[in-house]
Amino acid sequence: MERKLRITVGDKTREVTVQELGADGHPLPAAVAVAAIAAAPQRRPLDPKWSTIQRDTNERMSHMLPYLTRGSKVFQPADTVAVLNAVIRSGDRVNIEGNNQKQADFLSDCMCKLDPKQINHLHMVQSSVPLASHLKAFELGIAEKLDFAYAGPQGAAVAKAITLGKLKLGAIHTYLELFARYFIDLTPKVSLVCAYEADKDGNLYTGFNTEDTPLIVEATKFRGGIVIAQVNKIVDKVQRVDIPGEWVDAIVQSPKPFYLEPLFTRDPGLITDTHVLMAMMALKGIYAEYGINRLNHGIGFNTAAIELILPTYGEELGLKGKICQHFALNPHPTLIPAIESGWVQSIHSFGGELGMAEYCAARPDVFFVGPDGSMRSNRAFSQTAGHYAIDMFIGGTLQIDKYGNSSTATAGRVAGFGGAPNMGCDSHGRRHGTPAWLKCGEEFTDQQNLLGDVPRGKRLVVQMQETFQEKMASSFVERLDAWKLAEQAHLDLPPVMVYADDVTHILTEEGIAFLHRCKGLEQRMAAIRAVAGYTEIGLQAKPAETKSLRAAGLVKTPEDLGVDRRRANRSLLAAKNIRELVDWSGGLYDPPARFRNW
């Protein structure tokens, strides 16, 4: 197919045919090819037999070219549907950048306006599907198959779409697992990404919410795919080039800034005395015991409570400088008091957090801040760090079964686990030693039965969970709801967030079970029963057995740990509300409106 185009770059004007662009084998998108033609570089022509992907891409982009403003990669918001229509074909693998936080929401909305009669059977490969429009594409029959990691608020809609036959589920991955597949068998053909700023050449500034963008673009562009970006603002010069313009084919300034969810903000005002008790137990029984210096905190009020008692209870225990110095962690506002008190040396982040940009930028000793003066996050790198370079993951869950498997999956919701499983597991590829990792490995009796006398460490994986949640829902169950979900949604296997063989500690208000110190499954189950309180599982505990587990140091109650329950109240929190976090930050933290209490 041929198409005549008049191309002007600077003072040069040339008429070209699209065929010429494709056949001469430039491994570059059309709009960049424009510049390339103007500069007239000579490249070795590619053998058409070995450049089918590139020729296909060039052909598609030729349909997009007329929408681009002359001499740039910019198209108008009103043309967005037409641009998508030009480059997307039925059956394509498409990635809509849906991170934990930053969402290519405008492009997602526009994709839903494509004609399902013409464009359908799309295979969506994206880390998150938290927007209603992500699911709408399936309801409309535009998209058909989904491979993802996290659905968050759309968990119920995903389950429903599966049941109605509107959505074929590939698999629920972890972030790293899905990212890996982008480079093996799930490479996107078209990726719709988002950024804060772009210049007319397509250079992108992703702000401190860089998250997945570099990885998506690299996987797409280096396999001859097409990258389209929505940006909040088109500028003359971007603050920092996070993505080179060469790798971006077209950009549009979205009518509204992209949607950003403050997922990692926990209001200290909602932390309860029980959270404080468990945080005290964690610090004394685990952080101090193992000297945990490199870690990740799962999101929740339990870990927020730990962060907020570091400058009080932690200080009192003399732990400053001994624990919590290096984190793979999003910029949690509740960590501000500990950072300000000099506890933390470094934090690398998966993503940003609404309201924390200025604070992070002003603390370059702690956060990863670029030469431009703003932080950059990177989900792929931080997840890798979280998998290989931390000694402990601590976080909550929804249900723990009698064996110690845990899951946040509930019947009727296919939510996925995001990155938790990569941190909530022992990384078997790890080869470097740290005291915490080695100590935990030394205590791991069952491992020695397989390894003989060769020393090997173990990541601490701590599940921190009250025995009962709101409305007396039990956290300890005979059988995970994940089984029911697997049946309903025709999954290959029940979605387990953290497997029992990876869990080293279960921490409830009743005590800590040191599972890795147990011999065999029976003893592990007994230790779980001992901390399961008044749940059905906990009620099966035998007092004599619990007593011997305590004597053997396999279970420790607050009293065994020397934690004074009477001190477990909110007055231990270094900040009791959002305003106090702002005060700690010297006014640098700018909390979202919904969290303000003044």
Partner: protein
């Protein structure tokens, strides 16, 4: 243990109704009236299967501020949102009647003594108004309280202390408006119709109740202070509130009368002027008002600590 001294530096916002009541008056001087041991519980809630509280969510009692008997009423927001039902309402009414009778009995003695020991009423509000489960009784209590405020006027100062999480809304917003002096912290709110109800009735475009920054700059202590709807803005400790109450206890009744925002021809005229000013200005946001009153950088006022704020804020009619 909640000793008086540890209570003083405690956050008012974080404290329970009882801790506030104990900490607002002089050390060791608080005696609770119709306390939890009396088990005067709501007769209506059990029928509805709703949880009850032994004090029905309101702490009443007597203490001292120097020589002044202080009658304390303190609402507990964590129990059904601090709503006022039959028992809690009756406890409020009883406490106010007690203030009046103390005043009257002091009148029997020397004038100097009556002046030196003039009682004071402290009401710590944390409520959305009437308890819907027992609305008739609750409404009646509101009316009786309103009546008593008129009886107490020019005799016993009634001070509204608003530093709680829920703040003061609904019918109790009217009650607060009818007191002599209003003391607030920046973390609390005062209004008639609550944010959620405004949103429900007028739509999200008119008022987004989930935008807490908006809610606070429309109903919060700082805004109320600038607009003259509250007389004093204080810090968030119990000591801060107690000191302000002490200060009012020592003021003359004429000064106190001058603190009222409504209830006289002059006050009504001042309010009407403010209404006219606002109508002319057509503000889109409370910060427009602040600006029009001479506050050049409204955002700075929001960020400012209570102390800084006191220094820089320009108030209506101040």
């Amino acid at each position: 243990m909640s000793t008086w001294h540890t209570l003083q530096e405690r956050s008012f916002l974080e404290s329970s109704a009882r801790q506030r009541a104990i900490g607002l008056v002089d050390a060791g001087s608080f005696s609770e009236l119709v306390g939890p041991l009396e088990r005067f519980v709501s007769p209506h809630l059990p029928i509805l299967g709703e949880a009850i509280e032994f004090d029905d969510g309101i702490v009443t009692g007597v203490g001292l501020l120097g020589k002044h008997p202080a009658i304390v009423i303190s609402q507990e927001g964590r129990f059904i949102g601090g709503s006022v039902g039959e028992v809690g309402g009756a406890k409020m009414v009883g406490a106010l009647k007690l203030a009046l009778s103390i005043f009257e009995s002091l009148q029997q003695g020397s004038a100097a003594e009556a002046e030196a020991r003039r009682p004071i009423v402290l009401i710590s509000f944390e409520t959305g108004g009437v308890r819907l489960h027992e609305a008739n009784a609750g409404l009646l209590a509101h009316a009786e309280v309103m009546d008593l405020l008129q009886d107490l006027r020019r005799k016993v100062p009634v001070v509204a202390l608003i530093g709680s999480k829920i703040g003061c809304f609904g019918g109790m917003g009217f009650i607060a408006a009818a007191t002599d002096v209003i003391v607030m912290s920046e973390f609390s709110r005062l209004g008639l119709t609550g944010p959620e109800v405004i949103e429900q009735e007028m739509g999200r475009n008119e008022f987004d109740a989930s935008d807490r920054a908006l809610v606070f700059r429309t109903t919060g202590g700082k805004h109320k202070f600038i607009m003259g709807d509250c007389n004093f803005l204080v810090g968030d400790t119990l000591a801060d509130f107690r000191r302000q109450a002490q200060h009012v206890a020592q003021m003359s009744m004429i000064e106190i009368e001058g603190m009222r925002r409504i209830g006289s021809r002059g006050a009504v005229e001042r309010q009407m002027k403010l209404v006219a000013f606002a109508a002319d200005l057509r503000p889109r946001d409370s910060t427009d008002m602040w600006k029009a009153l001479g506050n050049k950088e409204p955002q700075q006022l929001i960020a400012a600590s209570e102390e800084e704020f006191q220094k820089i804020a320009v108030r209506w009619n101040a």
